[in-house]
């Protein structure tokens, strides 16, 4: 249904312009589509780096008492792996996809603040580079990604690696916060005529709540990063216990950020699969209103669960139970969403194109991660397995099984819109199955070694604890994942040249982004359409049976 005839492409035909002009265009762009793509590319590069860090960690842990990697090198590796994956892979890739999709799907020409958008991307990228500058001090920070005070005080972390880490995260945090503000303004203020908030595509709804969480959660992190820099460099004592500071203060403020952070990493994915599952089941999303309410409930409740990361630190029993109750409560709206996805599939005509393949991978795996999360909310069980490999298994399960599988679903879904080419479905199958098997083999055994007493963040372990076999299975699984990611990167790049041309609407989908060309022109739409329901294209394709009759 494109109104525009010309098919702009991203492939080299466009390089009749000199490469310097193309580079200049991208570096100075304020176009949300290009910025979104740059966010995703940045995330993929850091994904490879953090993945290499993970492989080194796994190689060291293959044998008990291995001396493959020195203790503080290892400690720096897990610090950087966590920091990179959360701040420079997870958030950028989701903000990038959101950036590309949201203005198109709500019928806008760009984000509300295009220059702020560009600032956000470059701040995120520069923050990442600044964190990696810490290697120039002689080694990465070896504090863990949540950097518990007072280990981060100058007494215990002597090199300036920790300063680079804090500074880099302050800079990228500014980028993230501006992104959140931009999404809020765009979604609240720039929707197409007729698109009430109750009619926005589900991915946009989840980006709205993600942005609420960003603007609430990022500032406390920025604040404590500034505070630790003040402690380390200007003689402040916020977290310096030997001079009246508080170790607890860091933990509470960090997790006040840290828990909403993981919902920032999953809500957009909930939105993506809520678009993909209906399209590939050929059925409208079941229970939109309840799904929307559940999203808001999750966003709200998740602001009150943070100290479930702190059950063992010596809070009172009542405080522990408060956070146990809120953490268990958040499972109810999450379960509601799950059942609604299943109900959407039920009675449908499901095709397993790559987006749906990854969405089903997401469903099957996120269920398990959510259930181990419920287990972790049970305080006494938590007192055994917190800070053990059980937790490492849990959060990788929700981050990879949830965030990553869902993100791959989204990338396979929207890549044709962004580039005009289809990604190879055959390579997607290889990527999916290698990842599925490798990921289960990597993180499944961690639940066992955790319950057998293996703590986190140890560079080695004793041979007679019974942990070696589980570590070896984990390392094997990690190695199986490596070709999966290689295939993905290859698919991303090669499809630009040899991917099947996609057309405007390769998936026979229902939201506004599929009305324009692939890739869209810089102004997105020739005419901004007026919408009457949640699925404007369904209405156009099925004029005898439009959604607007039933919503």
């Amino acid at each position: 249904m494109a109104i525009v005839d010309v098919q702009p492409k991203l492939t080299p035909e466009r390089a009749t312009l000199p490469w310097t002009a193309v580079l200049h265009d991208w570096v100075t762009t304020v176009d949300h589509k290009k910025i979104g793509i740059m966010y995703v590319l940045m995330a993929v590069v850091f994904l490879i780096i953090a993945g290499c860090e993970a492989i080194l960690i796994r190689l060291q842990l293959f044998w008990p008492h291995s001396d493959f990697i020195a203790p503080d090198t290892f400690n720096g590796l897990f610090t950087m792996h966590g920091t990179t994956m959360i701040f420079f892979v997870g958030m950028p890739i989701l903000i990038g996809i959101g950036n590309f999709v949201v203005p198109l799907t709500i019928g806008a020409r760009d984000m509300a603040f295009p220059r702020l958008n560009a600032l956000g991307f470059w701040a995120t990228l520069f923050g990442g580079i600044l964190v990696y500058f810490s290697y120039a001090t002689g080694g990465a920070p070896a504090t863990g990604w949540f950097a518990y005070a007072p280990l981060t005080e100058h007494t215990f972390a002597r090199s300036s690696a920790t300063d680079f880490w804090a500074l880099g995260l302050i800079v990228s945090g500014i980028g993230t916060t501006t992104g959140g503000i931009n999404f809020l303004a765009t979604i609240l203020g720039m929707r197409a005529p007729g698109m009430a908030l109750s009619k926005i595509p589900f991915f946009t709804w989840t980006m709205l709540w993600t942005s609420v969480q960003i603007v609430i959660a990022l500032p406390p992190l920025t604040a404590i990063l500034i505070m630790i820099l003040l402690d380390r460099n200007l003689g402040a004592h916020f977290f310096d216990v030997q001079n009246g500071g508080s170790a607890y203060l860091w933990q509470h403020l960090f997790w006040f950020f840290g828990h909403p952070e993981v919902y920032i990493l999953i809500l957009p994915v909930f939105g993506m699969v809520s678009e993909i599952i209906p399209v590939f089941s050929r059925k409208v999303l079941f229970g939109y209103e309840f799904m929307a309410a559940a999203t808001a409930a999750i966003a709200f409740i998740s602001l009150g669960v943070w100290a479930h990361h702190m059950f063992a630190v010596g809070m009172t029993r009542t405080q522990d139970m408060f956070f146990a109750v809120t953490s268990l409560l958040v499972s109810i709206p999450t379960g509601i969403k799950f059942f609604n996805w299943l109900a959407t599939m039920y009675g449908g005509r499901i095709s397993f194109a790559p987006p749906m393949l990854f969405a089903c991978g997401f469903l099957s795996m996120f269920l398990i991660g959510g259930l181990t999360g419920i287990m972790l909310a049970i305080v006494p069980f938590n007192l055994q397995v917190t800070d053990s490999y059980f937790v490492v298994g849990h959060f990788h399960w929700v981050l990879i099984g949830g965030t990553l599988f869902g993100t791959f679903a989204g990338i396979y879904y929207w890549y044709p819109k962004a580039t005009g080419r289809m990604l190879s479905a055959r390579l997607a199958q290889w990527q999916f199955w290698l990842l599925y098997v490798g990921f289960i083999l990597t993180f499944g055994p961690m639940h066992i070694s955790g319950m057998l007493g293996m703590p986190r963040r140890i560079y080695t372990y004793e041979a007679d604890r019974g942990w070696a076999i589980w570590n070896q299975l984990t390392t094997l699984g990690a190695i199986i994942q490596v070709p999966s990611f290689a295939i993905f990167v290859y698919n991303l790049i090669a499809s630009l040249w040899v991917g099947k041309p996609a057309g405007d609407d390769p998936w026979d989908a229902w939201t506004l982004e599929w009305t324009t060309t692939s890739p869209p022109p810089s102004y997105n739409f020739e005419e901004i359409p007026t919408v009457h329901s949640r699925r404007p294209l369904w209405d156009l394709k099925h004029p005898e049976d439009p959604d607007s009759k039933y919503e």
Binding site: Y148, N340, I350, C360, S364, F381, Q384, G453, Y459, A468
Partner: protein, 358 residues
């Protein structure tokens, strides 16, 4: 290289490969298996039974929901590419209420059982009282070893200091001997975790946390520091020796004895002590009854009564002690004891003295 061979040639390793589920379920019958599913204390047992209940509930949910997912994938996959769309079902309020109510009920049950167990395992320590058969120890976590200050037992003040190996009495014949640990830190956050005895509790600088356990089963229980605390967090190992009450009282009596110099000491011991006191050892270490009153390193008064050195890393033998004193950084790189560059003669003299500190 040899440690890798040992790991693979170890027959226990083979047993683990053959019986991973048995291992998990029973904790194995090997002394090395320190699984939370092999509890030795009532607190750990409460946690185990709650965990099994929760595992059963979540396992049931998994089977049902994943089953529906697999069913939906198989039953409703597109078999032909005909263009007709299936019936569009927008929602159903009764179903939504049903699948909100059911999880809410499950959550309610979980909250109740969790509350009950929390109140069971998280203690409010009583004050020491005469004949209470209760042991009170203050644990001070330090990078990367454990200091144990024995405060009270059976209502009596104790006042001696041990390091790295915690001895406690076992209950017997219906008579329990609870142990209350007051947890403090001298530097950064640590965590005390011995899965068979209790859940973990953190050691947070600037505050004192309390934990409790008791057991009737004598034996050695192993654990780890479970809060990342820097370079050698991995080797901040815990050993708890539970022994019958009489043996424990003997051990305590022995630990209270000082190691004052005697005229009857052999020459090697005297010159070794002299070398020890002349070096900077005394800046950090303490040997009760001598001028060595350092506060920053493990108390050495009864060093040879311990099974291991370096917080559980290596067996406590004279040869290992010699290697450790020669260069601790080779065994525990990054630990806070430097290599002092001792001459072989001084080093051997010091070892000859230390091995008498039983």
């Amino acid at each position: 290289m040899s440690s890798r061979c040992e790991a693979f040639c170890n027959t226990r390793y083979e047993m683990h490969v053959m019986n991973p589920l048995v291992l998990l379920a029973t904790g194995g019958d090997l002394a090395q298996d320190q699984s939370m599913f092999y509890p030795a204390s009532p607190g750990a047992e409460s946690i185990r039974s709650l965990s099994v209940l929760v595992l059963a509930i979540t396992g049931f949910i998994f089977i049902v929901v994943e089953g529906i997912l697999i069913y939906a994938i198989l039953r409703f996959r597109r078999r032909d590419s005909s263009g007709s769309e299936p019936p569009q079902v927008y929602g159903s309020k009764p179903i939504e209420i049903a699948w909100t109510a059911a999880p809410t009920l499950i959550v309610f049950v979980l909250v109740l059982v969790t509350t009950r167990t929390v109140w069971e395992v998280v203690p409010t320590p009583p004050p020491p009282r005469p004949d209470d058969r209760t042991l009170f120890v203050t644990v001070i976590g330090r990078q990367w070893w454990w200091e144990y200050r024995y405060d009270h037992y059976d209502g009596k003040e104790l006042g001696f200091i041990a390091a790295n190996e915690l001895h406690v009495p076992a209950g017997a014949n219906g008579v329990s001997r609870p142990v209350y640990l007051s947890l403090q830190s001298a530097d950064v956050c640590h965590s005390f975790w011995v899965p068979r005895l209790a859940g973990k509790t953190d050691l947070i600088p600037g505050r004192t946390n309390q934990m409790w356990f008791q057991t009737d089963q004598a034996g050695t229980y192993r654990g780890n520091c479970a809060e990342y605390c820097g370079t050698q967090h991995a080797n901040m190992l815990i050993r708890v020796t539970v022994e019958p009450a009489e043996d424990f009282e003997d051990w305590m009596a022995h630990q209270k004895k000082e190691q004052a110099p005697q005229d009857s000491d052999p020459e090697a011991v005297k010159s070794g002590r002299k070398a020890f006191l002349a070096q900077s050892c005394v800046n950090c270490h303490r040997v009760a009854g001598t001028p060595a009153q350092g506060k920053y390193a493990p108390d050495l008064t009864h060093l040879m009564s311990r099974q291991t050195l370096a917080a559980g890393m290596i067996p406590n033998t004279p040869e290992n002690l010699r290697r450790w004193i020669d260069d601790p950084q080779k065994i525990k790189p990054g630990c806070l004891m430097p290599a002092f560059g001792l001459s072989d003669r001084d080093r051997d003299a010091i070892v000859d003295y230390l091995v008498t500190l039983r």
